[in-house]
Each structure stands twice: as C-alpha cells, then as structure tokens.
C-alpha cells in the first residue's frame, strides 16, 4: 500500500525540520574547533578610521584591517616588521622606512606606496588648519613624511620621541590607510574601511557589530580564523548566558562577572593583569586637602587591600605606584602603606582638622561603589565623614574639568594605559590641571622629568627619570594607588586568543586554535 505525499505530510516535515534545527542550533555552535568565531565587545563600533576612532574597540578592528610599518608580536609588546621590509632610526629625529612590494589594498584600490604612508601619518599629525584631529598628540613633533621613492620614505620629527614606536608607529595612529580610498569615500571610510591587513570588514551594523573575513590578498602571516564575528553586547549578564549557550566564544569580563563561568564545561578562564590604573585622588588646591598632613592622614587611614576585596572580590592586584609592573620604569621599591589609625589621627590633629566632611566622587559602577563604601567606613574612624557622590559616565568624566574641577574633593578614577610610561604619566603634568589632572597637582619637577623622559632614547636613563617622577607623586600624598586591575578572558578551550599584554589591544589576526 502506498501513502501519497500530501500537504499535511509536507507541513509536518517542514515543522519537524525547523524544530530540530531550532533545538540543535545552539549545540552546533558550541562544538569546535571551528574556523569562525564570535567575540564580544562591550562598546559599539563607531568609526573604523584610525584618525577618528572612538576607542580601543574600534582600534582592535582597525589594526587587523590596516597594516602598520611595524606591529606587536603575538602576546607581546615587542615590535616586528609588518608593512615595512625595513625601518631604521637614522638619527633621534629621523626614521627611514622601506615598504614591502605588492601589498594590495582591498576593493581594487591598488598597491600600498610611501605616498599612502605619508598621507596616513600626516592626516593625523599635521591636519588642515581648520580640522581638529583627535589623535594629533600621537604624532607630536612630526614635521612631515618625505617620500623618497614608491616604497621608501622618511619620518621627520622636530624633537626626539622615546615612545614613537610603541604608542604611534606600532599602534592605531600608525595604521596605513589608502589615500585614494579615503579621498574617494570621504565620510563613508569610517564604516567601509579599505585596508591591506589580514582581515577585511564584510559587514558593520550599528548596535550589532562587525564581521571580519580573512583578506586573501594579505601577504603577511595568514590568520587562523576565516571569519570573526564581533558582537556588541553591553550587558555582562547576557554575555554570561551567550557564553554558556555557545553563541559566544570569547569575552573579557571583570573577575566577579567571570567567576560563575569557571565551572562551565568547554570554557576557560584566563586571568591577565591589566595596564589600566585605578587610584583615589585628592584635590590639593581645596581645603582640607591643601594641607599635606590631611592627605597623608587619609592615605594612612585607608586600607587598600580591604577596598580591593570589596571592589574586585580580592582578585585585583594592589598597585603601589603609578606604573604597573609591566611598564618600563615601574618603581618596585615604592612604599606599601599600611593602615595606621593612630598616626592618621595625629596628623589630622596637627593640621587642625576635626570632623571634616568631604565628598568622594565615583563612577556609578559596582567596583567603585563598593570601594567607596569601604573608604567611607575607614575614614569615619579617623573623624572624616565621607559623602559618596556616584555619577553616571557623562557627568562623571566632566567633573574634574575647568572651574567645576576646583570643587572636587576626592575621587576614585580609572584610566586606560599603554605600554609606555610617558603615555601614562601625561595626565599628571601641570598643563593638565582643569583637564585630566583632577588632583590639580602642580609640580615643576615632575613636569621637567616628564619632558626629559619623553625625549630620552637611552632606556636606563629614561627608567630612572620615570622612577624619580613617581617618587614625587608619592611625596605629594595626593594619590592613593589602588590597582592595575585584572582582565579575565573567558573563552572556549579550543581558542588561543592573542593580545598585547594588558588586554586592551587585542590581536585578532594572531588568534589560533589551542
């Protein structure tokens, strides 16, 4: 007996297949290893143009779409040649380069030449008069790029720059864009980048993220993953669930958000010390903090370890000086202040301060709120009443600027770092008062050491200058260093991610299978 295939059979079949697919899909995505992966970013991609990028999340994509003369080796801050066959520092202010031939830009924009290098660097460092370049300071002291031949050129500076290679040539501001493409696409270049790097952007959608595909024309080391989907997920809880369900393969989370994922089969937690730095600062211009004894008393009244336990579940390393251990010039012998209530009280008495009421400004995030609450309790014991002023990002980041900044008492703040001491130190010079030097700390000696170390090409001398600068910061007692944080990388156990130590700069093109 035969059974004719009717409409009902067809619908049942379709429904069954759809259901089977629906049930099976997440499981499929969780199985590996694969050649396509999905990673999470917590800020939306906005501008994929090196000259107008909005932050490291844009930079991480730009660095694998565009080549640099030199780039960091996988999982290292050390540089190796990328688009250049040779880079030579011929004098403290002149760097010569020679490009590798046949490095082709995507979308048929032709071969990379020294003209493109000149255009790329000068549009950031020497913008047109009416233009405001966000990253102009990256190319500080650039007087121009001279083109010698199709592949050769010279970068000429007005003054030596110690960090030119680490934070400029090897970073996003050193990315080589296609002159013709930028001129042709104008504003669209921000969302339709043209590059010669290991990946190309095949889709970019607001609030969703981007999809990167291996660039077949790339002449360098072939990336392992054929496709990388970068998903913008702002919520840590959603990230947790997407990692569990197998829809996401990689995310960087705070230690407390990552901890519950430790027991999930197939996932790995990899804790990496960060180069972001967090501290409690005091406005030295405002009473009672204008008296150094009050600042010293506060430093002694606080217990940094207790604050870190509250803020980071004890998973963040303590920082005792400005520069984290990974950075050149880290002051290893910096004093580790222990809580001493008696001494704090006597310093306050000597300063004639009793029952002081102060405000502690923080960003409205759990880690800072928890640390602020501990600080409040600890300072209460020495007779200082703290009101915690928790602000959302937009308001918070403007609190220390201009005349408004004069009213700030104390604050907890976090800055992102780079693998360069001067990049980290730059926010504490007197010129930054009213901008990012919220302590309003004015030290001509610090300024001088900063300027000296910025141009010092001798590493040993530079290290010493940077340490001396940190000693001045310690002497001011305007800073209570808290932590350089820990980033927890959560990923499938078959992925081996790569990033410049500190994990602000990821190296998608060097990710491989474990």
């Amino acid at each position: 007996m035969t059974h004719p295939f009717n409409r009902r059979d067809f619908l049942t079949g379709v429904a069954g297949t759809a259901l089977a697919y629906a049930i099976d899909a997440p499981a499929q995505s969780a199985s590996g290893p694969r050649t396509n992966i999905t990673v999470r970013i917590d800020r939306d991609l906005a501008v994929l143009d090196p000259a107008a990028r909005t932050g490291p999340w844009d930079g991480n994509v730009i660095r694998c779409v565009q080549q640099r003369l030199m780039k960091q080796k996988p999982n290292s801050s050390e540089l190796e040649l990328d688009a250049a066959a040779e880079v030579k520092q011929v004098s403290p202010t002149v760097i010569e380069f020679r490009l590798k031939p046949n490095q082709m830009f995507t979308d048929g924009f032709g071969e990379m030449t020294a003209e493109d290098v000149k255009f790329s660097f000068e549009r950031i460092g020497l913008p047109a008069k009416d233009a405001v370049a966000t990253y102009k300071n990256d190319w500080l002291y650039l007087t121009g790029v001279e083109v010698k031949s199709k592949y050769e050129g010279r970068i000429v500076l007005s003054q030596p720059r110690a960090n030119l290679f680490d934070v400029v040539i090897g970073d996003v501001s050193g990315c080589i864009v296609c002159k013709k493409a930028v001129e042709q696409r104008a504003a669209d270049i921000a969302t339709k980048p043209v590059g010669s790097g290991p990946y190309q952007v095949v889709s970019l959608e607001r609030q969703k993220g981007a999809t990167l595909k291996r660039n077949p024309a790339y002449t360098g080391r072939k990336p392992y993953y054929e496709e990388i989907a970068i998903r913008f997920i702002s919520d840590a809880r959603t990230t947790d669930l997407a990692l569990r369900s197998g829809e996401l393969d990689f995310a960087v989370l705070s230690p407390s958000a990552a901890e519950p994922l430790r027991s999930v089969s197939g996932l790995m937690l990899n804790e990496q010390p960060s180069i972001a730095y967090v501290w409690l600062g005091m406005n030295v211009e405002k009473a009672p903090f204008n008296d150094i004894r009050v600042r010293q008393a506060i430093r002694l009244a606080l217990d940094v370890d207790q604050m870190l336990t509250a803020g980071y579940n004890g998973k963040a390393p303590r920082l005792n000086t400005l520069l984290p251990p990974q950075i050149l010039g880290h002051w290893r012998e910096a004093p580790v202040y222990k809580r001493n209530v008696a001494e704090a009280k006597s310093l306050l008495a000597a300063a004639g301060v009793s029952n002081a009421k102060v405000k502690l400004l923080i960003l409205n995030q759990a880690a800072y709120q928890n640390m602020a609450l501990v600080a409040r309790a600890l300072l209460q014991e020495v007779g200082i009443t703290v009101e915690v002023d928790s602000q959302e990002g937009g308001t918070y980041w403007n609190s220390g600027k201009g005349d408004v900044g004069k009213n700030v008492d104390m604050f907890i703040v976090r800055f992102n770092g780079k693998h360069d001491p001067n990049f980290i130190m730059q926010w504490f010079v007197s010129k930054q008062i009213g901008e990012w030097n919220w302590q309003r700390w004015n030290s001509p000696e610090f300024d001088a050491l900063f300027a000296q170390s910025a141009g010092e090409l001798d590493q040993a001398k530079r290290r010493q200058e940077v340490i001396d600068a940190q000693k001045l910061m310690d002497k001011s007692a305007a800073f209570v260093w808290l932590t350089n944080e820990t980033n927890t990388l959560v990923h499938r156990n078959w992925i081996k991610p790569a990033g410049v130590p500190g994990w602000i700069d990821w190296q998608y093109d060097d990710w491989t299978a474990a």
Partner: protein
C-alpha cells in the same frame, strides 16, 4: 442622506485638523523639553567617549557641532528647519546622518513592538473572554493570579528568566536577539524570546481589561434582548459583546505603544538586539545629542500617530460614536 454624509466628512476633517495641531504642539513641546534638558545636563561626547584623549579643542568642536553653545530656541528653530527638509542632523561621532542610523534600527523596534502587542492581544483577548464567560471558575481565579503576576514583573526580569529556561536549561532558543547573517528563519527564531518578554505583561493587562469590560457589557439590556430574541450565546458574546468590550482595550493598546517602546530598551539591552530604544540609551550615555533628538522625534511622532489611528478606529468599531458624530455634524 448626502447632507448627512457631507456633515460627517466635515466633522472628521475638523477632528483631524485639531488632532494635527495637537500633534504638532506635542512634538514641539517634547523637543523643547529635550533641548532644555540637553543644555542643563553636563558632559560632551568627546570627554565621555574619548576620556583623557579628549582635547579641549575636540570638546569644543563637538559642542559647536551640536549647537550646545547656542540658545535653546535657536537650536530648536534650526532643528525643525532641518526636519522640514528631512534632515535629522548628523551623528557627531561617526559623521553619519541620523536618519540613516534610525533607518537601520527602526525596523527592529517596530517589528518587536508590534509583534509583542499583536501576540499579547491574540492571547490576552481569548483569556479575558474565557474568564468573563466562566466567572468565578478555577480557571478565572487562576488567570487573575497569573495576569497580575505578569503585570507586576518587569519585562527585563521576565527576559532573563526566559533566557535561563529556554536558552540555557532547554537549549531551544538563542540568547542573542539579532541574527548575524540576517537570514529570515534565524531572525524569527531570535525574536521569539524578546517578543515574549515584552508581551507577557500586556497579556495580563489585556486579559484583565477584556474580562472587566465583557462583564460590564454582558449586563447591558441589549445583550439580554438579543438573547431573548433567541440569538445564540456564542453570537451574542463574540459579535455584539466583544465588539464593545474591545473599545477600552484599543485605547490601552494605543497608549501601550509608548510604554512598550520604553520597555523595549531594556529588552533590547538584555537580548543585545539593535533598536531605537538602545540607540537613544547609548546616545544619551555618550551625550550624542543629534541622535537623541532625531530618535526622540521619531518616537514622539510614532506615539502620536498610533494614538491618532486608535482614535480614528473607534468610530469604525463603535457605531454609536459614528452616529453620534454624524448627529453632532447635522446639528452644526
């Protein structure tokens, strides 16, 4: 007859004109409030986004580009002058037109909101009818409890619970609410949980409202008369009673659009789904006012237009309103 129809048309036209004026006033009022707030709230996109990298020149440039250095009324005038030619401004960060950003995300929000509302009506109305026609039954009491529970629980809590059950424990549906590939089947699958999260509270609302309205209508003399004439219970309930009981629900659905758009922000964040709400939320965090203004205008217009449609639909559903309007027109 012809005179009556013409009077009705005049009345409708007058009504539409007055609503249009109200709509314009609402939009101007809402934008005035928004512009005033943006002048008071501290912060600029450069500082918020770039942090220490933001130079004073860059902050100033953003402030100038957004017109924040101008008086509120000047900004408002410029904004509406641009809107009149279809220009909602430019995103100061990416340099892209705000209209194109809105165009990219608005389908997500509209599909989510209207699917959720449709789903809520589809489930809520039969539940409400059942509860009304089986008053005092175990199911009626159970539905009352469930409805209140659905109303009381915020949609983002429902969203997380749904994710835990359907994505993690049962592994049936994806966590992320938007497809990477854009394939229709995948998009539909990824919409199920966000829709449910948004709709559940409304199912409760609609069910309670329909139940109450139905009970009220069922006691009306015309229902008794219809039954006395021998019309079937089913016909009376579903054709005559339900039609009238639906009117308050339609009002609720109109007003609900605003609330749903608000709740959609949280659902969009939890499911990492693009949408108008998330666009506004992120833009506020970044102090990217051109996006906030453009997107807020779209939301206000959307809300007002939906409510206008709802108002207009009354007369189509309820002949008493239609005839009342005609009589008023004839008297005039």
């Amino acid at each position: 007859m012809v005179a009556g129809r013409s009077a009705r048309a005049d009345e409708t036209l007058r009504y539409l004109s007055s609503r249009l004026v109200t709509t314009v006033l609402i939009v101007i009022g809402a934008m005035l409030l928004l512009f005033t707030l943006s002048s008071i709230v501290p912060g600029d996109p450069a500082t918020t986004l770039f942090g220490p990298q933001a130079t004073p020149e860059l902050s100033r440039r953003f402030i100038t580009e957004m017109g924040l250095d101008q008086p509120v009324l000047v900004r408002l005038w410029r904004f509406f002058s641009n809107v009149a030619v279809g220009n909602l401004g430019v995103d100061v960060i990416s340099g892209r037109p705000v209209t194109s950003l809105i165009r990219e995300v608005i389908p997500y929000t509209l599909i989510l909101t209207f699917t959720a509302l449709g789903f809520a009506a589809l489930v809520g109305i039969p539940l409400g009818i059942y509860a009304a026609t089986h008053r005092g039954s175990a199911l009626d009491n159970g539905l009352a409890f469930v409805s209140v529970a659905f109303i009381a629980v915020p949609s983002f809590v429902v969203a997380i619970l749904l994710l835990l059950v359907f994505s993690i424990w049962l592994d049936w549906l994806p966590v992320l609410g938007a497809s990477r590939t854009g394939a229709l089947g995948d998009e539909i699958k990824r919409m199920i949980l966000p829709t449910l999260a948004l709709a559940l509270g409304w199912i409760g609302f609609i069910a309670r409202l329909i139940r109450t309205s139905m009970l009220e209508v069922m006691n009306e003399p015309y229902i008794r008369t219809s039954r006395a004439y021998g019309l079937s219970r089913c016909l009376v309930t579903y054709k005559y009673a339900l039609k009238n009981a639906c009117i308050p629900t339609i009002t609720l659905l109109g007003l609900g659009i605003g609330r749903l758009l608000g709740n959609a922000v949280l659902v969009e964040i939890v499911f990492a789904r693009p949408g108008l709400g998330r666009l506004i939320y992120n833009a506020i965090s970044e102090r990217n006012y051109p996006i906030v203004q453009g997107a807020a205008l779209v939301v206000v217009v959307l809300f007002v237009v939906v409510n206008l449609i709802v108002d207009m639909s009354y007369s189509a559903i309820d002949p008493r309103i239609r005839h009342g309007a005609a009589r008023a027109g004839a008297r005039a």
